[in-house]
Point group: C2
Chain length 462, copies 2
C-alpha cells in the first residue's frame, strides 16, 4: 500500500480546502422537484462542470427532459474503466422552521459526542457523498498525475424526482457510458465504524391519490351528516392498506417476494440490529412492520407501504367548520425481489377505485416506478472493494440490502448490462430528506480516502 501513501497524505493535508469546495456546492439550492429551483439545478450542473474540467476531465453538460446531467471522461487505455454515478439535486427543505440554521448555508458543528459534522441540505444526500469520489480523483491527479483506472463521471439532477428523463438519456448515450462496472456513493455505512457495501436495493412505486367529493368546500353545519367527506374516503383507503398483522392487503402484493434463506436470516440475527439501536435514536421502540418478522427483514428484504403525505380541508390555526371538496395523499411502496411496479400500479388503482363512492371521483397519478435489484456475490470487483475498505477502516465491510431504491441502478443493469457497487459513507442519523441534514466530517474525510483506495484496487494498483 506504500504507493497509496502520498495520495492519502494529500487528502489529509487538503481537507480544509476540500470542505470549502463542498460548501460552495452545498450553497446551491438545487431542489429538483420544485420548478422554482430549475435555475439552481442548472447552476449546480455548471459548478460540477467547472470543477471536473479543472481536474482534467473532458466535461459536458447534456440536456434531459428535466434537469441536465454532467458527464465527465478521463480515459485510460488498457486499464479497467469505472463509471461513477451521483446526483447534484437535493430534497425540498420543508418544514423550514425546524432547521436550526438555513439549509443552504452549510456549517461545521460539533455534536454531543465531540464528532464534527457538516450541516446542510444535501450534506449527505448526495453532494457530500459525490464529493468524496471527486476529491479522491483530485488527490490521485495531484500526486500521481493520473488516475489509477479509466473514469467516467455521470452526475444527474433529478434523482429526488424519480430520475425523470435519465433512463432515456442513458439509452441514448450507451457508448459514452462504456465501463466495466458502475460505482455509486449514495448509501450508508453499517455503523459509525463499520463500512458497508450494498448488494441489494428495494424498488419503489409512488402514487398520488386525489379524491373529489362535492365540487366545492361545504359548511359542515349545513352539510355534515349528508355530504360525503373526501378525508373520510381517503382515510378509509389508507387504513385498508394494512391488516392487523402489519401486512399490505393489496391482492397479489406478496407475489414475487421470496423468503430469505435461513442461513442469511441467521447471519442477520448476528448483526444485532435491534429496535433499541435502530429505532431508539429516532424516538421509537416498536417495529411497525409485519408481525413475526425481524426488524432487519422489515427494512431490507420485505416490501413496505407508506403514506408520504396527506392534505385536505382546513389546516391553519384554530377551527373552521368545513367539509372539503377534495383531499389527496402521496402513497408509496418499497418493492423487493420480483415485485413488478407496473402490476402494482394496476392493482393499487383498482384497490383505490373500489373504495370511491359512486358520486365521488378519484385521480390516481402514477410516478416512476423501479424494480428491486441485487448483485452477484462472486463479482471480482466486489472482493477488491471489500479489501480496500477493510484497509481504510480496519474492519471488514458488511454486505447488506438497502431499504431505499436507487432506480438508476436497475437501469444501468438493463441498459448497459453493468453491475453497480454501492458504497457510501452516510450514517443512519444523517437526517437525509429531513431538517438539519448532516454528514459527519469523518464520513467525508475517510470516505475520500476510501475511494482513493478503491480506485487503486479496481485499477489493479491496490
Amino acid at each position: 500500500m506504500a504507493a497509496l501513501d502520498p495520495i492519502l497524505n494529500d487528502i489529509d493535508r487538503d481537507l480544509d480546502n476540500a470542505l470549502e469546495r463542498l460548501f460552495a456546492f452545498l450553497r446551491i439550492p438545487s431542489i429538483s422537484t420544485d420548478p422554482a429551483y430549475a435555475g439552481d439545478c442548472r447552476d449546480a450542473a455548471r459548478w460540477l462542470e467547472g470543477t471536473l474540467t479543472a481536474l482534467g476531465f473532458e466535461t459536458t453538460i447534456s440536456e434531459t427532459s428535466l434537469h441536465p446531467v454532467v458527464l465527465a471522461h478521463a480515459p485510460k487505455p488498457g486499464a479497467p474503466h469505472v463509471l461513477f454515478y451521483g446526483h447534484y439535486d437535493v430534497q425540498p427543505v420543508d418544514p423550514l422552521d425546524l432547521w436550526e440554521t438555513p439549509p443552504f448555508e452549510p456549517r461545521l458543528a460539533t455534536d454531543a459526542h465531540g464528532a464534527r459534522r457538516i450541516v446542510a441540505r444535501g450534506a449527505s444526500d448526495d453532494k457530500g457523498q459525490v464529493m468524496t469520489f471527486i476529491e479522491a480523483c483530485r488527490a490521485w491527479k495531484a500526486m500521481a498525475g493520473e488516475l489509477p483506472c479509466g473514469v467516467t463521471i455521470l452526475i444527474e439532477g433529478a434523482e429526488e424526482n424519480g430520475s425523470q428523463g435519465l433512463p432515456e438519456w442513458v439509452a441514448r448515450n450507451r457508448d459514452a457510458l462504456a465501463a466495466d462496472i458502475v460505482l455509486v456513493c449514495d448509501t450508508s455505512m453499517w455503523n459509525r465504524t463499520t463500512p458497508a457495501i450494498t448488494t441489494s436495493l428495494r424498488g419503489l412505486a409512488y402514487f398520488e391519490v386525489k379524491v373529489t367529493c362535492a365540487d366545492r368546500d361545504l359548511h359542515s353545519g349545513f352539510f355534515g351528516g349528508a355530504a360525503r367527506n373526501p378525508i373520510h374516503v381517503l382515510s378509509r383507503i389508507v387504513a385498508d392498506l394494512h391488516d392487523a398483522e402489519g401486512r399490505v392487503t393489496l391482492p397479489g402484493f406478496y407475489e414475487g417476494v421470496r423468503e430469505t434463506p435461513p442461513e442469511v436470516l441467521e447471519q442477520w440475527r448476528g448483526l444485532a440490529l435491534t429496535p433499541e439501536t435502530f429505532l431508539g435514536p429516532i424516538g421509537l421502540s416498536e417495529p411497525a412492520g409485519e408481525r413475526g418478522r425481524m426488524l432487519i427483514e422489515m427494512i431490507q428484504s420485505r416490501p413496505a407501504c407508506d403514506v408520504n403525505g396527506i392534505i385536505g380541508g382546513y389546516t391553519g390555526e384554530g377551527t373552521k367548520t368545513v367539509i372539503a371538496g377534495q383531499a389527496s395523499a402521496k402513497i408509496s411502496f418499497r418493492l423487493v425481489d420480483d415485485q413488478d411496479p407496473e402490476v402494482l400500479a394496476r392493482t393499487f388503482e383498482a384497490f383505490v377505485r373500489a373504495r370511491i363512492p359512486a358520486d365521488c371521483s378519484v385521480e390516481v397519478i402514477c410516478y416512476k416506478g423501479s424494480r428491486a435489484i441485487s448483485l452477484p456475490f462472486d463479482m471480482p470487483q466486489l472482493g477488491a472493494a471489500k479489501a480496500a475498505l477493510e484497509a481504510e477502516w480496519g474492519v471488514a465491510p458488511v454486505t447488506v440490502g438497502a431499504g431505499g431504491s436507487i432506480p438508476i441502478v436497475g437501469d444501468f443493469k438493463r441498459l448497459l448490462d453493468r453491475n453497480t457497487l454501492l458504497i457510501g459513507f452516510g450514517l443512519d442519523d444523517d437526517r437525509i430528506h429531513a431538517p438539519n441534514e448532516k454528514y459527519d466530517l469523518a464520513s467525508f474525510h475517510k470516505g475520500t480516502r476510501s475511494w482513493a483506495r478503491i480506485l487503486a484496487a479496481l485499477g489493479g494498483q491496490g
Copy 2:
C-alpha cells in the same frame, strides 16, 4: 299594513346606497381565527360603531378575551325590547386561488338565471345578514323618526372562532343585554322563495388531534416497514370513527339523542328535501349519513362527525420519500338533543388514545363546545314573526331545525334566560366558508324589508 308602506318604500329607494354601505363593511378582512387580522377585526368593530352611532344608537366598543364586541342601544320605554345579535368576523379565505375575484373586493354579479348576487367573503355569513337588520332600523328611523320597539344590537367578532370570550362577556353584561327576545340573522331560507325560521340548532364539539411518532421526518427507504407512520395512525382513527352503516362508533355517542316523532317525520317527508335538490347542486347524489335515515334527518335531527382538515408529510408538487414525524387532523361533531360536549370530549380523547401505539404520543386539543338548542313552538313572538315573513314573501315560512351550531344562542338561554328567533335570508348555494361566497341581492333587499316588518310586528305595530 299601510303604516309600513313608507318604511318599505324607503328601503326600495335606498337600495343602491345600502349596497355601498355593505360593500364598505365587506372590504374589511376581519378574519377572526388568524391573529394576523386582529387589527382588521378591530376596524370592522369601529366601522359598525360609526354606522350605529350615526343612526342614533348609543354605541360602545367593549373588549373581550379575543376581538371586541360592538354594543348599541336604542331604548323605547314601555315598548317590547329586542336584542339583535350578529357577527362582524368572517372565515379564512383559503384556498385563495379558487376565488374568481379577490374575496375582500365585493362586487355585484349576475348568475346564469339572471339573479344578481353580492360576491365577497362575508357577503352572506354574516355581514350581509347583519346589514339587513341595520338597514331596516335605518329606514324606520328615517321615515318614522324612531324604531317600533326598543332595540339593543350586539355584534361580536369571534363567531368563526367559537365565539371565544363572548359567553364570559355576556355573563358580565347581563343588564346591558336585557330584552324580551333575541333576534339572530345568521341562517338560511328554506329555498329561494320560502322563508324559514330556525327553531332548533345542532351543537358542536371541535377537536384537533396531533399524532407524533418519530421525533423527526424519516427517509421512507431506510425506515419504511420499521418506523410507525403517524398518517397511518391518524387514518386508522378517522376510519374507525364510523361503521359500515354510517353510524359514529364512539361508545355512548347516541345517548341523549331522541328519535324524531313520527308526525314530524311525516311533515319532513312532505318537504321533499331530496338528494337531487340538496346534494345535486354541489355535485353529489348519495346521502353519506346513517343508513336508513332520511336526508333531512341527517342534517337536522341526527348528530354527525366530520374531519374538517388533515395534514402530514410532504404535500408539495412531485414526490418525496418521507415518513413524517407528525400528522394532525381537525375533527368535529354536530350534536343534537341532550348530547353533552363535555362527556363527548372525554369519550373522544379515550377513543383516540386507545389507538396510539405505545411508542407514539398524541395531543388532543378541545376547542369550545356547545349543546344543541330548541325553541318552544307556542312562543308568541314566533307567531308574530311568521305573519310578518308571510306578508313579505307571500308564502308561510317553514320552521326548521338547522345543522349548524350558533353556540351563543345556547348562552343567551343559559345566561339571559331568553329565547332566540333565528331568521335569515341566506341560500344553500351561498358558498359560505368556501371560495366565491355570495349573497343574493334579493336576500339583501327582501331581508331588509322582512326585518322592517318583523320589528313592527314585535313592537305591536304590525
